[in-house]
Symmetry: C2
Subunit: 490 residues, 2 copies
């Protein structure tokens, strides 16, 4: 489902996360938020999101959507196919905003509310087209975490639920549709139960904020990044199975363990205590620092999960693979093909004591192919004489077959990515008679000032030629050898 234009009403942390996710998916976004610092918050979250997306995704990103700040809500929602409401969590305010959206939006636009707890049936009261309102509750950071809880109210149509799920999936998210509306839905119910208990533990001096966080992130937090509560317990039950596990656990539910029967008073003393312990835990790191650490960690975890199951991915890693495939499909161009730059046949002096082409001759062919790519990009003797060149800084070679004396060979080359100084390429050597790939090389080339002996940006013309070729190659299918480290299990 191709989404071209969306509106975001509310540009706080959650609203800005939506804006970033939409823009990076190529969707134009009109924003309405009367708060004076909305533009600054959106710019900051967008910078974080761009940084994270570049590290997360191995697929061609579409040209980012256009961001426009509207002067009025009416102006923002006109023409939008999806309107995401992320204003503060007060029923009266949300109702007023949703009614205004309802009055000005196209009749077939989907309206998604980011509420983390209010009932959609309450939110849709007073709307002319209540059937197109759905709760679409995301998790911070919205541009990285895949989950969106989809909850319909009494008046929400099943078509809206279906269309909304499809729209959010196209944004790389994992929609989970909740059967029946309840306050706080599923995720925040679970979080609130745990949060109350954590507050008691701090209040009663059982453990500090840091100790509680460590208990979580060194144990069940690691488990829950990949399997949830029930599947984890299924495994813990062992061969006897889930029924046995439940039988064991059952009686424990009666134990007076938790403080759940009561709610801690969030008074000044408790607020002071938590705030002070949290300051100590942060150890002087700013929120911006912590955000970057969090995002880098999340990117690394999701990418690690994407490597599982033979590269098909698991959990959030499987969602990432789906997103990459969607991006590739969206960019698909049947005419795109790797470059065929060099070919030849294997001379006698390339053969080693094992009777086949020796390893460094493969790199010789790959190196000549990189040179041919530079020539293809317009780098000539004059260019090198001007004191600039590309140096290879890193190479990963896979040997997949053998070549013998007299065998023909030919190469295929594609650009994986490029920036103003780096050129990331992938070559394959194959046997033209059999079509089989004999070896591949992934290489990073760095543009250097050969006099100063340091990296230097390419000039704009060359940069444009490289970028054009990179865009052309971005739609080519991925290769298992790319991004691999030596000895990595498949």
């Amino acid at each position: 489902m191709a989404l071209n234009r969306a509106a975001c009403i509310g540009g706080g942390v959650i609203g800005a996360g939506w804006i970033a996710r939409l823009l990076l998916a190529g969707v134009d976004v009109d924003v309405f938020d009367p708060a004076p610092d909305a533009q600054r918050i959106v710019a900051e979250v967008l910078a974080n999101a761009q940084r994270a997306a570049g590290k997360l995704l191995d697929a061609p990103l579409p040209a980012p959507g256009q961001l426009r700040f509207a002067d009025t809500l009416e102006q923002a929602v006109a023409g939008a196919e999806l309107i995401q409401e992320s204003v503060p969590e007060r029923l009266d305010l949300k109702r007023a905003v949703l009614q205004a959206i309802d009055a000005h939006a196209a009749p077939d636009a989907i309206i998604g509310s980011s509420t983390s707890g209010l009932l959609p049936s309450d939110l849709q009261q007073g709307m002319r087209h209540p059937e197109r309102l759905v709760v679409a509750h995301p998790y911070n950071p919205v541009y990285l975490l895949p989950l969106v809880e989809i909850v319909g109210g009494h008046q929400t149509s099943t078509q809206t639920i279906r269309r909304a799920s499809s729209l959010y999936t196209a944004l790389g998210m994992k929609p989970v549709t909740i059967n029946r509306e309840i306050e706080a839905f599923v995720g925040d119910r679970l979080l609130e139960a745990l949060w109350r208990e954590a507050l008691w533990l701090v209040k009663d001096d059982i453990a500090s904020v840091t100790e509680i966080d460590d208990v979580i992130r060194y144990s069940f937090g690691l488990r829950w990044a990949q399997m949830g509560l029930f599947q984890t317990y299924r495994i813990a039950g062992g061969e006897a199975g889930m029924r046995h596990f439940l039988g064991q656990f059952g009686p424990a539910l009666k134990w007076p363990w938790t403080k759940l029967m009561d709610v801690p008073e969030m008074d000044e003393a408790l607020i002071d205590k938590i705030a002070a312990q949290s300051d100590e835990q942060a150890g002087g790191r700013s929120i911006r620092d912590l955000e970057r650490i969090r995002d880098d960690n999340l990117v690394a975890i999701i990418r690690a999960l994407a490597q599982q199951q033979g590269g098909a991915g698991w959990g959030a890693g499987a969602a990432l693979r789906d997103q990459e495939q969607m991006l590739r499909d969206a960019a698909a161009d049947a005419t795109a093909a790797p470059l065929q730059l060099t070919s030849g046949s294997v001379p006698a002096e390339w053969i080693d004591y094992n009777g086949h082409m020796t390893e460094h001759r493969y790199l010789q062919v790959f190196g000549e192919t990189s040179d041919a790519l530079l020539t293809h990009l317009g780098l000539d003797a004059d260019y090198f004489a001007s004191g600039r060149s590309f140096y290879t800084v890193e190479t990963h070679i896979m040997h997949l077959g053998e070549a013998h004396e007299g065998d023909g060979y030919e190469t295929r080359t594609r650009i994986l990515s490029a920036d103003d100084k780096r050129l990331h390429v992938f070559h394959q050597i194959s046997n033209p008679a059999t079509g089989s790939v004999l070896a591949s090389a992934e290489q990073m080339l760095l543009h250097v000032d050969t006099t100063a002996q340091k990296a230097t940006p390419v000039d704009a013309d060359l940069g444009n030629r490289i970028a054009a070729l990179a865009r052309e190659h971005a739609v080519l299918p991925g290769a298992a050898a790319v991004g691999r480290y030596v000895g990595q299990r498949p």
Copy 2:
């Protein structure tokens, strides 16, 4: 703190996890468990743990400890420095077992109870030396998750808490000492609060087991693998800080959201429902399959976290780095050094149009160095003539400096790891005049039957020589280039 001998009383899933963690840390373990299937369970968990440790750790593992099954509890605990009790969660049973341990253990042995909820003050009643009893509550899988909650009772000495923390740290764990004993301590209190709520959600048909698990693992589960509840909320509060966040959240605690005031009846109907939904979620995968998937995911997540913070690691990844450093220190051998196998000077024909040694000549030197390593290991012309050889299947090269015509070069080589078919090596080329490293190569060599053209195991003699050299090299410090993929951010 060097631990040589431990006893484990109880060999169920948790006990077997402790046994595996201890054995892999080089500790001899005496086990007592009268259950007929204890030996089988221990063997299965140990196999999983060995598989996971091999993938997790980039450091020399010590020779595994000896595993012995004792006929009596007395026999098992005699001479043990640490005794870990992991029998079923019943106060009367645990007390009886702890009193028996107390009667036969050395007076200065530490006794750790794996209880997930009973109070240490209750457990230590009737012991002659109650001061050395401490709760040391781990999380499943014990051989992978770092957390151990340390909880003392009224009679536990502070020295015991200190010594226990130090012993568990030496096993690669993250001890978190809980200030004051309460039933279920910290982790299981949090888990129980969330678990009760999840049971209501299933019972009331708000969401299925699969949907709840997906809500967790696509959202806050990912967050909690790296930062806990409080630090995550600190960031969510944005620049306004924790105090602002708490101010917002505070009133919500009064909302009648959760079912916390009541406990669901774990009746047959609810057990049936959960068991059936769990079967559906498993999709036919056995518990063994799920265990392996879980372990591979956890290894990948912890390794991904170890790459953060410039390679120093974050959270569980930092704990892994600490463990690796301990293993390296423990194995430290001042005389260990890489092999110096080849050297020479750069001839004119190795220079390219950039005026420096061209890339494939580096691989030529690395290839010759691999050949020299094979010679060093005793592979000669007769060996190759017998139809066996090592083929390079994968190479990763980093270029760190330049060589010019006439420059000297020399190489350093170490074995990173080896099994019966694979030889994983790391070479460096340096300039002997300046000592600076010019390039490195990480390579995987495969032992092949050159007639059948397929991998084949090395014979026992050669295998022993390779293993001896690998052990010698295992204590050498790590290198940033090892395990790197092309373009990886530092």
